[in-house]
Subunit: 354 residues, 4 copies
């Protein structure tokens, strides 16, 4: 039986590599094009020796060419930097190819916010309306009908899934939310730099981009949608000496007198009614706090909740695998939805622990 | 459709956890019993929170009971220490259940060698003849007909797959082989001890059990079978500050004038004719040296080869995932073979890199 | 010349080991007694092979005996668990030996708070008044005259040094402070447990003790002293896959309109007027954010500051080495002060980077 | 009192950083010049924020200028790549400045071997005779009188100290020695590259430069001197996911019937008679195997020995800190000797464990 042909622009980075891992085992999608400006001409097995002798090994890397991609593929994943992605997306959409964009180019509805935070004017403003924010639990129906999906940022994925039920039920004050996030180093990409060398990251921990990380407006936008009001979010990202994984510790001022049990129940019910059939958001048992390894290699978002009566805050600990749920796995789930497949098709069932 | 019921004795250790990961996604086997003396009464989701809300979460852990296991299961995996496994195996076999034993109890054909290296008399000597050494590429046919499979040790798996073609073709002198192996810390098990605390292992590296590691006679036995002569092997294991992975660097005195290209070809051909259809042993392209991550989470054994004319030695670098190929994945492959299923059923296709 | 004899109760844990490292190079203090219930009879070189053939190697470990300690030592460091330390301290003080207690037993002024958070009644309430909280920059003069110093907790050290200038100058609202801290695994001690095994900590990250960590009342007490009002602090600790190091990210609601430059200046001035001559608190250049490695092996506390106009919060990033500044190094600095020596005598000058 | 002025060419790499750490605490040497082509004009505190507010912080980085270095310094450390170092050394020697060269440029006595392994013709052959190989235990007297010291490679340091007593006493056959070494990633330098990114090194292990590492001829040269015969060495380096540390596992064919106890005694005696008064080589107690952390931050070389009667081999495990003993610490010890100071002046006493 014929599988659906898909393409991947930008195979040499970590999100590209993760998509290869997932597509290698997908029963209905076939990766027929992989592109990379720097690696064109080599086979995938040559540039990624861990794929040697797998089904993807002989696929030849090409230079990105939208004409060729459009002829060969029904859907294309863009795993290239913001600024580069928007033109490719526009071009592919014009040629009737569906696009899942892993960059930030179509996440912000407001082009002015985009230019302010990314120091770049948006060149395809008309597409912003058409783009669907690819968080399946919140926008599952819209994704199913979309031609262009803006795959969410890794930090926003971990934060929005954690806050959605609380905001929906008005358990917390949206104006007093504070997010302290910690990410594994795959989030920093595969481009060589001194700051991401092994000897600079291992046995070390640091904060970065304080007060100015680009995922801030993305979270503010979606918290705004969920709460119906504009908010200013305190968000601080940190760099963990691990490969995969994001843990966000979220502090929100309580507006409710609901007990911890009631809050747990509201969270469980919220996700039981999610438009996607997959049950990726797991509310952990009270007293069990999510760890990044609990979700390694999967689409799970594990949440731990505490109603802290002492400080009148709701504490939420949220973990995802930044490469899988925070990028390529979510992109594949979105592709599944766009192509009418089961949302969790080709996605790992059990996390890799240890 | 009914899946084949299987059981797992010893779920709380790392090999038990890895079997759960793999069985959670297996299309034809159903895990119906998991046992642990210390955790009996809890659900699997309670003792392993990363399995919360997966298909295995509600399975209740029981105390090991061969009567119950025999009634419920067609095949049982033993993931308990040597010494404990042999009695359970004997009991289960008597009750007509097939057994894959992950311990060392049935690996050595000679009970005297067993008692000498394990300081323990073997209580089921008669079963030693019946047991098949579970290395699929070497004993695939015998495994398919076995009731009792002795799953190989992690170090021997990495070493024997690396040496088999060279010994078969008499490329090297079996009396002058030296193995320097390095293993991730999952190989040390999950029992609490000062020596395996995070702060003792991280940012550190050490050798251990010099001149007396228990996998030595196992390798000597199988090298003896492959070469037709008795050998003494120099084997030194080391503890790596990583979770999964074994890399063995093997030095063997050359007996051949074959070129590097010819040796690569002989290796490729040897495994192309393996009795199992799965192609898990990958001869990497000359110049590409295997890294432990290339095989993470999979059954692959990657080999790098160098005919070193300067020192007249064949150098082999061999990597496996010690938990998957070196233990639970290989156990599952053996179970597949014993039950007439495709050998690679339920085993991951692509390694998790990064 | 005779050096001053000191003793160490509890040499086998990480704080004991760190004190040995520092005392091995101290020009004026001589370690003459080391005790450990479990290791008594062995030499220090035997139980800590990294000290083999150093000046401390031949020191014989004894069982703790206050009579013997009092005869041999002028000052004793207690590196034993809370609950055990208080009786030893009382006994040693009675015998006219000065004590630096690294446990929590004398940190809280209020015995009721102690029993509430530590589930233990304090057996030496009268000593609480006498004990000085051993944070040299805040209590340098009192420490110099003390017989009993309560060495601060590691988290409180990182947090109080970060907040003292802001509270002193009333830059922030003491009732809206939130502390998100991350600690290396040495903070969890050296006692074997599954949760601190290498394979459970590496490539992983988690929060713990949410809403109920025992360092919370210690910080609330000292913030109370600094601000003149009782406060409730939101404090969440996390476990980092590194050995040494704490990074605290602190969010405090601004009460001032001071610019970022002014705040930096106030911080620098505050510590320039510290009662101890050592200059351990370093205000990093704006834009340079402290990393845990910047202070590895030393007494430094590095601070990064941001006046975040968007969210009206003061953001402070504070790093210390939890074993040196957060425990044994600070204990040694306190001993130096108590014995009339220069506060930084025997303490490393430059951090170990990389 | 005036300290002796010294300079450092190449401050931005890891060996330069390590020299800064050590010189910051040296009582008799004063670092008065640090150079870096890329960082000239900034202060040391700016490019290395962990030195912020230390005594070295205000030192301004200059572009390398031998005229200026010669005027300001009595001795200069060269921490630049091979090929670059030789011209600087020649120039400085001409200007009567002593030189400790941390590169490989003056380690090999034979210029042809140099050009063969380094693909570069030596431009200062006449200096090769004058250069002393800076391994203090073997060449302590020559170093004391030298103007040019070739600081040994990190791997050779760990291997030669391990083999010297065995070769001196003819315990082993110099023609059948095999060295399997593992190094921390600081050995790979600080230049950005994909292969040394955190996400490529962590949770991974690999061999590299099989059969062709440039430290091979250096070891062969010195083994030749020690044994009086030309040898071919099997040497395989590997990359460890740790910062500092080398562990070499050495296998040598026994020529002696000496017992393990006798071999231990011969080793201890050999180093007791070393020309340097410092006792850096520690023969660990039989049964205690050296770990890389045992020597972290120090000049120690710890050795573990086993006479393996089964395989007729002497097994030696040797560990050093590749940055301290294997590079900058050894360079400082050599400088101490050249300047008539105690060899261990300014070098740490106790390793940093944990």
């Amino acid at each position: 039986m014929q599988r659906i042909p898909v393409g991947l622009v930008g195979v040499a980075g970590y999100t590209g590599m993760e998509l290869c891992r997932l597509l290698a085992a997908h029963p209905e999608l076939e990766l027929v094009r992989v592109t990379s400006r720097t690696e064109a001409g080599k086979t995938l097995g040559q540039i990624l020796p861990h794929l040697h002798e797998t089904g993807l090994a002989e696929l030849v890397v090409t230079a990105p060419d939208t004409q060729d991609l459009a002829q060969a593929c029904k859907l294309v994943f863009l795993a290239v930097p913001h600024g580069t992605a928007m033109d490719l997306a526009a071009d592919l959409l014009r040629k009737n190819v569906r696009v899942v964009d892993l960059s930030a180019d179509f996440r912000l509805r407001d082009p002015e916010t985009y230019s302010q935070w990314y120091n770049l004017d948006h060149r395809h403003v008309s597409l912003l309306e058409q783009a669907v924010y690819g968080l399946p639990e919140l926008y599952g129906k819209e994704i199913a009908g979309a031609n262009l999906v803006a795959n969410p940022g890794c930090y926003p994925t971990s934060v929005l899934l954690a806050l959605a039920p609380a905001l929906h039920h008005e358990l917390v004050n949206p104006e007093d939310i504070l997010v302290d996030s910690k990410s594994g180093a795959t989030g920093a990409g595969r481009k060589p730099s001194t700051a991401t060398l092994f000897c600079e990251v291992q046995d070390n921990f640091r904060a970065y981009s304080l007060g100015r990380h680009r995922h801030t407006p993305e979270m503010e936008q979606e918290i705004g949608v969920l709460s119906g009001q504009q908010v200013q979010l305190s968000f601080t990202p940190h760099l963990l000496p691990i490969g995969r994984g994001i843990l966000s510790t979220i502090y929100a001022r309580l507006k409710t007198t609901a007990s911890s049990e009631e809050v747990h129940a509201l969270y469980r019910d919220y996700y039981a009614q999610s438009p996607v059939s997959a049950r990726w958001v797991r509310i952990q048992t009270p007293g069990v706090w999510p760890e990044t390894r609990f979700v390694r290699g999967t689409m799970y978002c594990d949440l731990g909740l505490l109603v802290d009566q002492r400080t009148k805050r709701l504490l939420i600990v949220s973990v995802i695998d930044n490469l899988c749920r925070g990028a390529s796995g979510q992109a594949l789930a979105n592709a599944n939805l766009m192509l009418g497949l089961a949302p969790d098709m080709g996605l790992p069932v059990a996390p890799m622990v240890p």
